[in-house]
Symmetry: C2
Subunit: 110 residues, 2 copies
DNA sequence: TTTGTTTATTGCAATATTACGATTAATAAA
DNA sequence: TTTATTAATCGTAATATTGCAATAAACAAA
């Protein structure tokens, strides 16, 4: 049906899924990498760097902003985006705990 | 258009996106967590534990298997799934490098 | 005010994802 | 062989995602 049954899962599981969804498109991965690289924030040159149309980039930025991973400040006519480091760190804590499950285990397998 | 322009992005960016997509649904998160918890593999009781229909779980398992994060071995009429620890470790390396970008940066922001 | 620049929004088309009923396939047990 | 059990596959409906052209909004500069 295209809609996930989120009510079945824990808050944490849904949170992990939401963060992961942010990274599940290469354009958003590229945007974040570029924002990290050009740490003196940037603006609309993302459109040039990435190679997608302006509305498409704008939409991806919106999703990342909604999740809190980036923030944008208006600077004249252009908008200056950058990573929200505080939230990035929080996100990392959640994701790392999920990814490092293998370390908490005395393993044996089939 | 619903289809991502993967050819525009690097192999690594696409790889990150593919791994992230695996975690972008709470059911797959829950499946992986359960497989880690019950390290003596398991089979169809995932259906009961998760609370989705059998074909739905089977489909999610297929995606995780295709990515190499889990493996299944036939055991009579049932199938025994478990984490593929080698590939999980490889995946972690890729994702950790992406997530830890903030550490490689002398930060200043707007 | 008009013009240009930059970003957001709207509307739409194409494709992907999620979910499940019905069915099939494979094997074990009777 | 028949029956039961388990998992995969097929088909389909509902919703989500991706991408962009067209347009709007916001502001700076002339």
């Amino acid at each position: 049906m295209g809609l996930a049954k989120t009510e079945i899962f824990t808050e944490k599981q849904n949170k992990i899924a939401l963060f992961a969804k942010a990274f599940s498109h290469p354009a958003r991965v590229a945007i974040l990498q570029h924002l990290f690289k050009i740490n003196t924030c940037i603006c609309g040159d993302l459109v040039e760097v990435i190679g997608l149309a302006q509305p498409t980039i704008s939409q991806h930025l919106k999703e990342l902003k909604l999740l809190g991973l980036i923030k944008g400040s208006i600077e004249g006519t252009s908008v200056c985006y950058c990573i929200d480091l505080e939230n990035w760190t929080k996100m990392k804590a959640v994701m790392n705990k999920f990814l490092n499950q293998d370390l908490e285990i005395n393993n044996s397998c089939c």
